[in-house]
């Protein structure tokens, strides 16, 4: 459904994306994960026919990205970042306008359907400019779904939604993701993990990792980092912890607080907790720190820069 090879886009001297090759199948939700400025929006603009790549190419919904751009656009639904909409139109007016541009037969019915899908029918007559960020996001989504596209491309669709709305939107994506090809971008790892069948991690315009969330997690997680906090200054605890097997690094953060790194693949928390309690220290807190996206990025890019120096 989406198949691109060696996509490259340069803006003057600056290379936004370089040699991206990836694909997405029907019924699959693919997450595009990267920090701001990594090249996510550029890639999506190329996939939606807004601009051609500097080099490389591919097919979306069975048509050539460059030569058959209009055919591609007919079959793609797009939610751009920040959802640009005409503030002086009502929701219904706007959707009807987009439906007319897309030559949708029985426009009125489709507009109603799309509004129902995203639960915005009660705001149909509101001016877009008066809507909250979450509602605007939904109008943008309705617009992307209007023509029942084979491929949905969503740039930061969770941005600006409150947790309740995020849950709703995720449910919606899972639903449409069953029969369409969905590609969404986010800079929040948890969203991608929860929603996507496959994650493509992009950094400085290049793909640095691509896999299912589970495998990516295992691969990236490396060791765990465990925080331990005891009442008092924890005198002597450092040595006790250091004596435990399977811990790669133990250090005192401050009095009564310790940070422990373990080898991958095993949860050391039960042993640590037992050691602390057995030693008579009053245990206040023990938790495992999930590696954030930023840390994963540091991991992924560290290797690369080390290689390039060599």
């Amino acid at each position: 459904m989406i198949q691109v090879e060696l996509l490259t886009k340069r803006y003057g001297e600056r290379t936004a994306i370089k040699d991206l090759t990836f694909h997405a199948n029907r019924g699959e939700i693919v997450g595009f994960l990267g920090l701001n400025g990594a090249g996510k929006t550029t890639t999506m603009r190329i996939l939606t026919g807004y601009m051609p790549p500097t080099a490389g190419g591919g097919r979306v919904a069975g048509f050539d990205l460059i030569a058959e751009s209009i055919e591609v656009r007919k079959r793609v639904g797009y939610l751009p970042e920040n959802v640009p909409l005409y503030p002086e139109m009502t929701v219904v007016q706007y959707l009807d306008f987009m439906a007319e541009l897309r030559r949708i037969p029985k426009r009125e019915d489709r507009v109603d359907e799309a509004m129902e899908t995203v639960h915005i029918e009660d705001r149909a007559e509101s001016f877009v400019g008066n809507l909250s960020k979450g509602l605007r996001q939904r109008v943008g989504l309705a617009q992307a779904l209007l023509h029942n596209p084979e491929v949905l491309i969503l740039d930061e669709p969770m941005d600006g939604l409150d947790p309740q709305q995020q849950i709703e939107v995720k449910k919606l994506f899972r639903e449409v993701g069953k029969e369409k090809t969905v590609m969404l971008s986010t800079h929040i790892l948890a969203h991608a993990q929860e929603l996507c069948d496959r994650i493509i991690i992009i950094n400085q315009g290049q793909i640095v990792a691509e896999d299912t969330p589970e495998r990516l997690n295992r691969q990236l997680a490396g060791g765990d980092r465990i925080h331990v906090m005891v009442d008092g200054d924890g005198t002597g605890l450092l040595d006790t912890l250091k004596a435990l097997p399977g811990l790669t690094r133990v250090r005192a953060v401050r009095d009564g607080e310790f940070e422990i790194e373990t080898t991958p693949g095993r949860d050391a928390r039960p042993e640590i907790a037992r050691a602390v309690v057995d030693g008579g220290w009053p245990l206040l807190e023990i938790h495992r720190e999930a590696l954030s996206l930023e840390k994963i990025f540091i991991e992924l890019t560290k290797d690369e820069s080390a290689e390039s120096r060599a």
């Binding site: 026919g49 051609p52 209009i70 640009p84 503030p87 002086e88 541009l101 617009q143």
Partner: protein, 243 residues
């Protein structure tokens, strides 16, 4: 082409949502009303012939400044807010958008031109044998053509910027320059001067149309200006592809 029509319809409606349409029409009608009253009074007191150019001249001058106001928003706002991205990821070709925008501006301007017909109409009613209808038709045909060309310049300027004020001043600058080029060139001659002379907006209008004569040369000129500036505007929109 259907897309251009869809876009034109939306854009035309937007004129009446924003205060621009009302501001432009208000100023235009008040000023023209004053000119008309003065000229009508003069003609009545001194027994001169009824002169429809008494309102058409000022109308054209006001349009030099009103056309940029009418067109400045068209493309600049889409670029500033990013809505152009949604428009051009729908199956819409770049030229369809540009043409649709221009068409909307032209429809709005045509409305203004039609409203000014009230003055010659009154003149015709109160004089015998009335106005020369042929001359009047020539004047108005020329008016439509010239305003169409001015609007194309405005659409072009609006495509260049994401800022409406910048678009306003650029199109006004181009229009005024094309208007007063003649004053600068009065003593010049040679092929360059001839060419520049040909570019002058006002000559194509005042020399023939205003006396009621529609010359093919002038029609070709205005149609070419529309085509050229809409083409340039399309190229600017396209430039996002290779920038």
């Amino acid at each position: 082409m259907r897309n251009a029509w869809t876009i034109a319809k939306r854009e035309f409606n937007m004129y009446f949502v924003s205060p621009v349409a009302y501001a432009v029409s208000f100023v235009l009608l008040v000023v023209l009303g004053l000119f008309f009253f003065g000229s009508f009074l003069g003609a009545a007191n001194f027994g001169g012939p009824p002169d429809p150019t008494a309102t058409i001249g000022p109308f054209v001058i006001i349009m030099l400044f009103s056309v940029p106001a009418v067109t400045m928003r068209l493309m600049a706002e889409e670029q500033r807010t990013g809505t152009i991205e949604l428009l051009l990821t729908a199956p819409v070709r770049d030229w369809e958008m540009v043409f649709g925008k221009w068409l909307a501006a032209f429809a709005f301007a045509a409305l203004l031109i039609l409203v000014t017909l009230v003055y010659p109409f009154i003149l015709s009613q109160y004089t015998t044998p009335g106005l020369d209808q042929g001359a009047l038709q020539g004047m108005y045909a020329g008016l439509f053509l010239m305003i169409a060309a001015m609007l194309a310049v405005g659409v072009f300027a609006s495509a260049l910027f994401a800022n409406q004020i910048a678009a306003f001043f650029l199109s006004m600058g181009i229009l005024v320059a094309l208007w007063i080029l003649g004053a600068v060139l009065q003593s010049a001659n040679g092929p360059m001067a001839d060419f520049l002379n040909y570019l002058i907006f006002s000559r194509h209008y005042y020399d023939n149309f205003l006396s009621g004569a529609a010359k093919l040369e002038d029609i070709v000129y205005f149609v070419s200006v529309v085509a050229l500036f809409l083409f340039l505007a399309t190229r600017i929109v396209e430039s996002r592809r290779w920038r």
